[in-house]
């Protein structure tokens, strides 16, 4: 699915990530953890071609990101659902239209019933006509997850998806992600919430990666 080989990223003020090698296998579940500023978001951006490695190689669906045209990047992102901590929406459109946006830009007509079902699955049925600015943090996170999966992507990347949520809502979101993984989706979640990771490990065979000193390590049992 997504592979990094000796990948590094340099923002200009020194390397943030160095010598990263990792392969996300189909159907795998990974957590990525590390302190703030360690490079978790940068790592995710490398995984959906928002950034290109300054050295090394990143391949997404067996294609080197350096060889992707802008159209190729767009097509690749239709196979990757991304959930950001600061979920951004088109504020002038109702929630249902925002959730359908990946279908809209792909020129596909979304089935209203499917959208309704999806909103029900993330617990937002009553807010289909609401505008994004009126949603709470938790509602925005769940809406972002619904938007990320509406096209049935192969991979779901989530950057601090529970950052704005209380514990109950965090567990609910985690349950949704675990369900998606059981459907065969590849999941990578960047988080510093160790309790969430422990909770997830009780439900699914998740690997935990840690960024330390610019490099990726497989975390042990010392969570």
């Amino acid at each position: 699915m997504i592979a990094l080989e000796n990948a590094a990223y340099n923002y200009g003020g020194g390397e943030l990530l160095s010598d990263i090698s990792l392969r996300l296998a189909p159907g795998s579940f990974h957590f990525l953890t590390g302190p703030s500023g360690a490079g978790k978001t940068t790592f995710l951006k490398l995984c959906y071609a928002d950034l290109q490695p300054t050295s090394g190689r990143v391949t997404i669906f067996d294609r080197d990101v350096r060889t992707l045209t802008r159209d190729d990047v767009a097509l690749t992102r239709r196979r990757i659902g991304v959930v950001h901590q600061d979920c951004q929406f088109l504020d002038h459109l109702p929630l249902a239209a925002n959730v359908m946006l990946p279908l809209t830009v792909a020129g596909k007509m979304g089935d209203a019933q499917d959208v309704s079902d999806l909103l029900g699955w993330v617990g937002l049925s009553q807010l289909a006509d609401a505008r994004p600015p009126s949603l709470s943090g938790g509602e925005r996170q769940r809406a972002a997850l619904a938007r990320a999966i509406i096209t049935g992507p192969d991979v779901i990347l989530a950057d601090e998806p529970t950052g704005n949520l209380d514990w109950e809502m965090s567990l609910r979101l985690l349950t949704l992600l675990v369900e998606l993984n059981r459907m065969g989706k590849t999941i990578l979640i960047a988080t510093h919430d160790l309790n969430l990771i422990r909770q997830a490990k009780a439900q699914v065979a998740a690997r935990v990666l840690r960024i330390r000193n610019r490099r990726i390590q497989l975390a042990g049992a010392d969570l």
């Binding site: 097509l75 504020d91 459109l93």
Partner: protein
């Protein structure tokens, strides 16, 4: 990026339209700019077309005619007139030639000396009007023969009158065309600025669209279609207002000369209707250029 693909800006894509927030000052700026510029362009077009008509009128009225002026002592003038007329009848390229009557000369001078000018008492030259045929005559050869046959005869082929008038009219037309080109460029620049402002104001929208897999052409189409339609609608209003203004100008009047002929005639009224199409094309190109340039800077 399939920049080579040429999207139809008027192709209805309601979904693409909806992804861009509908209002903003850039919308009003685009409509106002295209309205004002097209209004000005209508007057420049009217100027250009009037100058063209004027050039043709002056050219037509003077082309193909010439005058021979005969100044000679009173006792020789009739002889020289007869000699010149005889010469002209055998000169190739001359369709007709006739000496102006006293009354015609009096009418020519009346604007300066009044209607009671005693033509007989004044040593005025005699004038012979020449009309050339389609083949034309050899002016230089005729001058040489006139010198031999009638020393007091001078050929005036109107070139010195016609040329500056034609040059002036041609420059007026050029001025009008230049004005239209400048107005078009200014409109393009202003719409580019408006499009850039709209793109900058909607960077978050563009980022979200890219994140969910929108191709550049999809995003560009949403902006291009909106700006093209705004410019087109503003230009239609500007063209209609301009045509109304031109229609209110005084009609063609000999006494008014050029200024009263500054309008459209016949099918010429259809030409201003091409300006909104031009405005739409300019807006399409300007917005497309601005949008692709903005997108190029985004991941």
């Amino acid at each position: 990026m399939t920049r080579g693909s040429f999207d139809n800006p008027l192709k209805a894509d309601l979904h693409a339209d909806r992804v861009v927030p509908p209002t903003g000052f850039t919308a009003r700026l685009t409509v106002f700019t295209s309205l004002a510029m097209t209004f000005l362009a209508v007057f420049a077009l009217a100027l250009s077309m009037a100058a063209g008509r004027l050039a043709e009128r002056w050219s037509d009225s003077l082309q193909g005619t010439a005058t021979i002026r005969i100044s000679a002592p009173q006792d020789q003038i009739d002889t020289q007139v007869a000699a010149v007329l005889a010469l002209l009848t055998v000169t190739p390229g001359i369709a007709s030639a006739r000496a102006l009557e006293d009354q015609e000369q009096r009418d020519l001078l009346a604007p300066w000396f009044g209607p009671d000018l005693p033509v007989d008492a004044l040593p005025l030259p005699r004038l012979i009007e020449i009309k050339e045929d389609s083949a034309g005559y050899d002016a230089e050869g005729l001058r040489q023969r006139l010198t031999a046959e009638a020393p007091g005869a001078v050929l005036d082929d109107h070139t010195r009158w016609r040329r500056p008038l034609a040059v002036a009219a041609s420059r007026l037309r050029l001025l009008g065309v230049t004005s239209i080109i400048l107005i078009t460029c200014a409109m393009g620049a202003m719409i580019t600025l408006a499009a850039n402002a709209a793109l900058a104001a909607n960077l978050q929208v563009i980022r979200v669209l890219r994140l969910v897999g929108a191709k550049d052409t999809y995003i560009v189409r949403a902006f291009v279609r909106r700006f093209t339609l705004r410019a087109f609608s503003g230009a239609i209003a500007g063209a209609l207002l301009g045509m109304g203004g031109v229609a209110l100008l005084p009609g063609v009047d000999e006494a008014g000369g050029f200024l009263t002929g500054l309008g459209f005639q016949g099918l010429g009224w259809l030409f201003p209707l091409l300006l909104p199409v031009l405005a739409g094309i300019v807006a399409f190109a300007a917005t497309r250029f601005a949008a692709f340039r903005t997108l190029k800077g985004l991941p």
